[in-house]
């Protein structure tokens, strides 16, 4: 019923608008037989100015209300730099935005025909055109240079710290499989063929490789503050994208093609909370949890490439800790290799399903979909 009423109201509104419009047209015809745009231009000139004001007030409100809600400052080394690049570009385009919009709408108001002036035949001016070609070119050259420098640095394999930790993340519908190399710091070999890949060994781990015996799957992505990390990325079924919004990290995970991303986390989860505690918006209460927002802050891992109906659900917690805490966590992890099971019944080799994230014991995950 409500739906019907809403619908009827809208239809009625349209009819009224059309009738008004029709009346307007008829009266204009009666007045002078030929429609003059003089009055219309006059009023719309004022509207143009009005819109200009509205736009700037609206933009200012957006900045005031929305900026505090945005992601907090970057928690990685390169993220701070790309954020800086973002901000400086934003500043430049902000200036251009304000100047050009003012010029556009001001001219539309100032030179509308109701002022009774004549138009000025002014087809071109080479000096002006050279000026407004050269200035953007110079500014853009600067931005390109800064962007390229940063980009090449982020992906420069020679700039990597040799003591970095390596973590493997594999996307599948619809969760992340996070593999750590365990105590030896080396991953067991993966072989993608019919012999190795099976529902109980989705990653195709070669259990005969002793390096695989201490590898473990984690339910959360644990990182160490200031310790460089190389994410080795892959996907099982369709495209996924490994996205750590707080660290400004994103890289697609492509079935059959390995990708990677190297970065350095710079703030532990606790440090970030302490920082956010000082931010007014983060002090407000989150109605869902009933706590101040900073208290429940956590880093998260998301999928950023459409991968199917539950694309929006590929969430994992990310925890950044000091080395000591990390070592403690590491000691508690259980390798997924279970000797007896692996030797006697290969079909029941430990399986990794991170959809059961809360179940920490790998053996409890056996064979579950």
């Amino acid at each position: 019923m409500v739906t019907f009423l809403v619908f009827a109201t809208i239809v009625l509104l349209f009819v009224v608008l059309v009738l008004i419009a029709r009346a307007q047209e008829l009266t204009a015809d009666l007045r002078d037989g030929k429609v003059s745009f003089h009055n219309q231009s006059k009023w719309n000139g004022y509207f143009m100015l009005g819109f200009l004001v509205f736009m700037f007030v609206g933009s200012a409100m957006c900045f005031k209300i929305l900026t505090p809600v945005m992601l907090p400052e970057a928690a990685s080394e390169h993220g701070v730099k790309t954020d800086f690049l973002f901000n400086i570009t934003m500043l430049i385009i902000g200036i251009v935005f304000v100047l050009t919009q003012i010029a556009l709408f001001w001219f539309a108001y100032r030179y509308n025909e109701s002022h009774g002036h004549d138009s000025y035949f002014y087809p071109h001016n080479n000096t002006l055109e050279v000026v407004w070609t050269v200035i953007p070119s110079i500014v853009l050259t600067g931005l390109i240079a800064m962007g390229m420098y940063e980009w090449m640095h982020i992906f420069d394999p020679n700039a990597r710290d040799k003591k970095m930790m390596v973590i493997e993340a594999t996307g599948k519908q619809f969760n992340w499989m996070l593999r750590y190399s365990g105590k030896d710091g080396k991953f067991g070999e993966r072989i993608i063929d019919q012999k190795h890949v099976s529902p109980t060994n989705e990653l195709g781990i070669n259990w005969e490789d002793p390096k695989s015996h201490d590898d473990f799957m984690a339910d959360k992505l644990y990182l160490v503050k200031n310790k460089p990390v190389l994410m080795k990325l892959g996907a099982q079924d369709v495209l996924h994208s490994f996205f750590l919004p707080h660290f400004r990290v994103k890289m697609d995970c492509v079935p059959g093609i390995p990708t990677e991303f190297y970065f350095v986390p710079t703030m532990t989860t606790e440090e970030m909370r302490t920082y956010l505690q000082t931010q007014p918006w983060w002090q407000t209460i989150n109605p869902e949890t009933g706590q101040p927002r900073w208290q429940t802050f956590k880093y998260e891992l998301a999928c950023a490439e459409l991968c199917g109906k539950s694309h929006y659900g590929m969430q994992r917690d990310v925890v950044v800790v000091e080395q000591k805490e990390y070592d403690e966590w590491l000691a508690k992890q259980t390798p997924m290799y279970v000797p007896t099971v692996a030797e006697t019944a290969p079909a029941e080799t430990p399986v990794v399903d991170s959809s059961k994230a809360e179940e920490k014991k790998p053996t409890a995950m056996l064979g579950k979909k």
Binding site: A21, S41, H124, M148, V197, L306
Partner: protein, 609 residues
């Protein structure tokens, strides 16, 4: 001349004489299988409007989900059945909605609807030709377009629903013909491929025709630098289309091979639930290269016609020549060339070679230079004009405003280092909707309001036009400006509730949804105005009557389209095609408000060239 007597006769009089052969047109040949460029233009426009409503409605549906993720809307179930059980749009249908919204608006409205309408209407009129180079191929172009639309529309009514793997059609999600992987990747995606194939045929037939007509069928005296900017833009658009659409067709054919014939062009080591499938050696990234080799030029296919229309509308209604005509032509050319070497900026984080990313950053940001030139020239055109703020011109001004706002954020996204964070987030959604979606719509509306009298001999209603304009301008900014602040939020999320990080913007999502619904209703108002004005609109004033033909010039334009009678004759001019003596922007010169292109130079007058 006998020509005066029959409005609907076929005139093939050429410049040298008037050989006439009358033949009666039936309803079928006049309205359905018409080979008249003006009728085909109307067919494209009305089909485009239909698709515009459908595409807009889809966005309203998924905005309901995004704005109120915890609510149910029982009336949806009555319309959508199993797609909205209990009044809540299902996940599968949500992704079908976003996929088809993109496909329909990008291809069927802003490519077919926009280029199809205005290239057909304006090219023969403004270059001074009786029709397209091949009217028959032109007709085929429309019918393939309609066929493509029928196939796409049909896919909404099959059991597994339409394609739902994104309008970019990336494999493997769309490369596996398995509804367990993705419901829309079954028959729905086959139909998507078939529809797109027909669409590409249509675009190629149309494009070749447009190019041939502009190059070969200009009237006497119409050298290239006397062409209005609309024609330059539409021709370059067609060139881009002809060069880039085949890449997408090839990409789609190979994709269908992977799906139906188990080839491995795009697939390698696919593991579904622990079962290794037999695909070996393909690359999903290859498809992305093929797709974006069209996909990026495609955004210029969308925006260039709008730029051309806006240039013409701004000059006409400002009663002032377009500022920097040649700079405008060469900047379109620069955009054309650059548009082919920037595609990989859509793929910065696919793991492509970082050196490649750097090169594509360079070219991408370079494209800002011709775009900036164009913006400054438009503003320069309004400056010291005698600006008539009609609906058409307001939309043209709105276009410039939108193009600035959306174009500037492109400088951020084109920079690969910053794009790492912003890629596939709502910031991108905001950027491309403003710069290519909304802008192109503004250009299209400017064109429709301006050339409606040419299409139907009547004006559109100005009052409704103004209401439509302000709703659209304010509403579009209300939707997409705040969306930029959702920088870290991934796009194509059904709900953000699973993430603490993203779950803070629900109030904004709701605001955007309300604005989107209002803007949609505003567009319905446009449609009402359109059909109302076809039948009841104010008629174009007759300025003179020659040989029984009424002539008018509603906006006082210099270009050739209004040297043809108000009624739409097949063949456009009852007598000879008028020759051209000057450039198209002689506004407010020599003490005259405007001088038509057909008027010979006065003794001693220096042409503007």
């Amino acid at each position: 001349m006998e020509t005066a007597t029959a409005a609907h006769t076929d005139h093939h009089a050429d410049v040298h004489g008037h050989e006439e052969h009358h033949h009666e047109e039936t309803f079928l040949t006049k309205y359905i299988f018409s080979q008249d460029h003006k009728m085909i233009s109307k067919q494209f426009l009305i089909t485009g409007i239909f698709w515009g409503i459908v595409g807009g409605l889809l966005s309203v549906l998924f905005r309901l989900q995004l704005g109120w993720p915890n609510e149910t809307f029982p009336f949806l179930e009555s319309f959508l059945g199993k797609w909205a059980e209990g009044g809540k749009i299902s996940q599968e249908f949500y992704y079908a909605l976003v996929t088809m919204h993109g496909t329909i608006l990008v291809f069927f409205v802003l490519t077919g609807g926009l280029s199809g309408t205005f290239a057909n209407l304006l090219i023969p009129y403004q270059v001074g030709s009786r029709d397209m180079a091949s009217p028959f191929i032109n007709m085929l172009s429309y019918w393939f377009f309609l066929g493509a639309g029928v196939v796409m529309f049909f896919s909404f009514f099959i059991q597994t629903g339409p394609a739902s793997g994104g309008w970019t059609a990336y494999p493997p999600i769309n490369g596996l013909r398995d509804t367990a992987v993705n419901l829309g990747s079954g028959l729905g995606f086959d139909l998507w491929i078939l529809g797109m194939t027909l669409f590409i045929v249509s675009a190629l037939l149309g494009g070749l025709n447009y190019i041939a007509t502009v190059l070969n069928m200009r009237t006497k005296g119409m050298n290239m630098f006397r062409l209005p900017l609309t024609i330059w833009a539409l021709m370059f658009t067609a060139v881009i289309g002809v060069l880039s659409f085949p890449a997408l067709l090839a990409g789609c054919v190979l994709l269908e091979f992977d799906r139906l014939l188990d080839t491995s062009f795009y697939l390698n080591n696919i593991i579904i639930n622990g079962n290794l499938l037999g695909y070996k050696g393909g690359s999903p990234i290859l498809f992305q290269h093929l797709f974006w080799f069209l996909g990026h030029p495609e955004v210029y296919i969308i925006i260039l016609p709008a730029m051309g229309l806006v240039s013409e509308v701004l000059a006409t209604h400002s009663r002032k020549p377009i500022f920097g005509y040649k700079a405008m032509v060469f900047s379109i050319l620069a955009i054309l060339v650059l548009s082919f070497i920037v595609w990989a900026h859509h793929m910065f984080v696919t793991g492509l070679n970082p050196n490649l990313g750097a090169i594509f950053t360079l070219f991408t940001l370079l494209i800002a230079i011709p775009s900036a030139i164009k913006v400054f020239n438009w503003i320069g055109t309004v400056w010291r004009g005698k600006v008539r703020l009609s609906s058409a011109n307001l939309f043209a001004i709105g276009f410039v405003s939108m193009f600035i706002s959306g174009g500037l954020t492109g400088i951020i996204l084109g920079n690969s280092a910053i794009d790492i964070q912003l890629h596939d987030t709502m910031f991108v959604v905001a950027h491309f909707h403003i710069v290519m979606g909304v802008s192109a719509f503004f250009g299209m509306f400017a064109g429709v309001y301006n050339w409606f009298p040419r299409l139907y001999g009547r004006y559109m209603n100005e009052t409704l036009g103004l209401i439509h304009f302000y709703i659209t301008l304010i509403g579009a900014y209300a939707i997409f400006f705040p969306m930029h602040f959702m920088t870290g939020l991934p796009r194509r999320y059904y709900t953000y509730a699973n993430f603490e990080t993203f779950n803070n913007f629900n109030f904004l999502a709701e605001f955007i949804s309300v604005a989107a619904i209002i803007v949609f209703l505003g567009q319905v108002l446009f449609v009402v105005n359109f059909f109302y004005s076809i039948f009841k609109g104010r008629k174009v004033e007759v300025e003179k009557t020659v040989d029984g033909h009424d002539y008018g010039n509603p906006w006082g334009t210099t270009t050739l389209e209004w040297t043809s009678p108000i009624e739409r004759l097949h063949g456009n001019w009852p007598g000879d095609i008028p020759p051209v003596h000057r450039w198209p922007y002689d506004y407010s010169v020599n003490g005259r408000e405007y001088i038509p292109q057909t008027e010979p130079l006065k003794p001693g007058e220096v042409p503007h060239e």
